[in-house]
Symmetry: C2
Subunit: 436 residues, 2 copies
């Protein structure tokens, strides 16, 4: 950048800038307040807010409207009542763009009171609110922590195709694409690709968009969301996968604490308690805890919430792994249960991680033998030809392996106690929303 | 993981393991060689290769075929001729999966000689070759370096929609999606979203897939590639953007040196020379250097190669920024040239970064005033209504801003001197290829 006439500082640095220094700050006008004798501008930059005081001798003229981009050059002055204990006095204000049109939101208020649909209609503006912005910063810090944990543990980041010739998980809920005149689909997950790449890199991860043509309007489903995917080879069973997940979650929390302390503070987030050993209940045991019939095949959201309360009460834990889901409720690539036999099966070497009573992660061990795949596909009536490339890789030699996927938006929404994933998605896509 | 009876080590650790130690390693059989009296197995894991020696007294029986997943428990022995100066003797071999079917490739040979189409048809197997695998590891390290540079500089990672209601860049070369019965498109870039988020976070980046319905078969285009996108506010002009890009490229090289030294070595990569101040030529000057007519609107691949040679000869640099592309050849959001007037314009505050003579990065300053947008759209005959959401954000107050996008696959292919981006894409997608 060209040398500025005065050092450019960001709002968060003002508190440690010596009174009397001349500095420049750049940001958007967050708020203007004109009192009878004195006027205040609050400027918002990427790091926070700075108060600017205009006395009559600083010149007159209308103050720029809220959200106008400005550069302010002035003198730092101590004021215990200002944010950071400092404010800027004797300012020179330069407009760096057009005066902003009136926002649909009063972004300077402590809370955005507009309805969710109104906020989503003008997402790029509503995200400017410090509270909104802080929410996404938790998402960004979480992705950073996720990668840091895996980079330190010998994992390789991958990038898999989002355009695929066959549906990944099931024929339903898939978006169709015109691919140079051929039918194609948007990938519902990197599942079969990340598994195949275990044969190459042994341990892989991907952070990327996945697509579900979710035909229902729910608070926890979107047509596109960010999936934090992991897969690793040479495991004993799904418990090894759960150990990696636990380590990843711990590092995500650590990164939030280290890199997002102001945001956690602003949002009054109490970070969850995730024990070193996450409590695990067998699906059969979960059924008993819920007083459910012995043929219950899967958990309803309400049952998940009940188990979440149980984990909190019984183990002081915000997370609970339910393992050994009935095999028939899991996808074809799921490995059958291999630990002690339990009545009411067949079960699988899989788990869901419930976070504060909501399914956050699905994981488990996958099949790794060709014959087992052929049997599993036949049993489900899936044509093996649909998965020919995948099966060829399995035939080419695959170790026991497994993995998991964390839904980023679910993680953040539960972290801050919002019921709707749209609250933490920059530009959500759903049945009714393809814009902005 | 369950405690193993012997410590599990990876191949790269064998060199520093004391001879006489008993260890377990897990990986794929990379090669088997049966001589008259002695047999060798080479095992490949995520970190490299280990040689295992079988004497007659280690028991007989057929050795598992190449690519079979195995666990080997044995004694570390010094052998200066073995990789890492160590080998494993007196092994116990456990198969961890099915014996592998014969691979279409002889993965144990120093080079994969199969044709590119053959390798792509069986991508998940051909990537197992150490040379292939090393190529992708350079991509992974590059992404890590990209993020590290930006994380350290106040940037926020974002995730933007890949399903959009209108084409981002132009109507051509866009994939159509059936979005719950409505027409939608796959995003050709995060361009308009990353710009809008500058108003929120000031500095943003995204690493993600972008989609181009590229109707031609070329060595440098794919239907899906990984774009490393950056956008930042409060700039003077495109030179500030170039400064961020330079810093990012330096950090990418540093990360390659630190994290991918064995891969650079295996591939015999000479890292490029990227000067602290990247050489910049004005488009008008580039025309002169090429002896091109003064109305040349854009550069051909051949002209880019010629400029690359010039930068190498004249500046000892593997990169060259060509700035001030004619305004009419750049997208509608491009900011006009604001430095010293130059005949032959109008020019733009934009640049392309040529890396070893190939366009690697496109960047520049964007318009930030509402009136300028309306004029630019009208001049190009684009209906402003198509960009209503974007224009509303601009009206809401935008600072001067700009950014760039690096094509990951192009970066890696030039780094290792491969002409075709398919060589460095895990599962490439093009006009003829939707699988594997």
């Amino acid at each position: 950048m060209r040398p500025a006439p005065h050092p450019v500082v960001v709002a968060a640095e003002i508190g440690s800038t010596a009174p009397g220094s001349t500095v420049a700050i750049r940001g958007h006008v967050h708020r203007r307040r004109e009192l009878s004798r004195v006027a205040f501008l609050v400027v918002r930059d990427r790091s926070g807010l700075v108060q600017v005081v205009l006395e009559p001798e600083d010149g007159s003229g209308a103050l720029p409207p809220e959200e106008t981009p400005v550069r302010i050059t002035g003198t730092v002055s101590a004021n215990p009542k200002a944010p950071g204990g400092r404010e800027i006095v004797r300012p020179r204000i330069t407009l760096l763009g057009d005066p902003a049109a009136t926002s649909p939101f009063e972004l300077w208020r402590p809370e955005l009171t507009a309805s969710l649909p109104a906020r989503l209609d003008h997402a790029a503006l509503s995200w400017r609110h410090p509270v909104q912005r802080a929410r996404w910063r938790l998402a960004a810090a979480s992705m950073r922590g996720f990668r840091a944990a895996l980079d330190a543990d010998g994992f390789t980041e991958i990038a898999t195709p989002k355009l695929v010739g066959a549906a990944t998980e099931s024929g339903a809920e898939v978006f169709r694409v015109d691919y140079f005149g051929q039918p194609a689909y948007l990938a519902q997950s990197p599942q079969l690709y990340k598994q195949q790449l275990v044969g190459v890199f042994e341990r892989v991860y991907e952070v990327g968009p996945v697509f579900r043509a979710e035909p229902h309007d729910t608070a926890r489903h979107l047509a596109q969301y960010t999936s934090l995917d992991v897969e690793l080879g040479f495991i004993e069973d799904h418990r090894d996968v759960l150990a990696v997940l636990t380590n990843v979650l711990h590092r995500m929390l650590e990164t939030l604490r280290e890199d997002a302390a102001p945001e956690l503070d602003l949002l009054q987030v109490e970070l969850p308690s995730i024990p070193a050993a996450v409590p695990v209940v067998h699906f059969a045991h979960a059924r008993e805890l819920l007083g459910a019939p012995p043929d219950l095949p899967d958990l309803s959201p309400e049952q998940e919430r009940a188990l979440g309360r149980w984990a909190r009460a019984e183990h002081g834990s915000d997370v609970l792994a339910v393992e050994a889901y009935p095999l028939r409720t899991r996808p074809f690539y799921t490995h059958p249960w291999t630990r002690e036999p339990t009545p009411g099966g067949p079960y699988s070497n899989s788990f869901d991680l419930l976070f504060r009573g909501v399914e956050l992660v699905t994981g488990g061990q996958r099949l790794h033998r060709h014959g087992d795949y052929l049997a599993a596909l036949a049993e489900r009536g899936i044509d093996a030809a649909e998965h020919a490339d995948y099966l060829r890789t399995v035939e080419g030699g695959m170790p026991p392996h497994g993995g998991f996927a964390i839904g980023l938006e679910r993680w953040v929404s539960r972290l801050i106690g919002m019921g709707n994933v749209r609250e933490v998605t920059l530009f959500p896509r759903d049945l009714h929303r393809l814009r902005p």
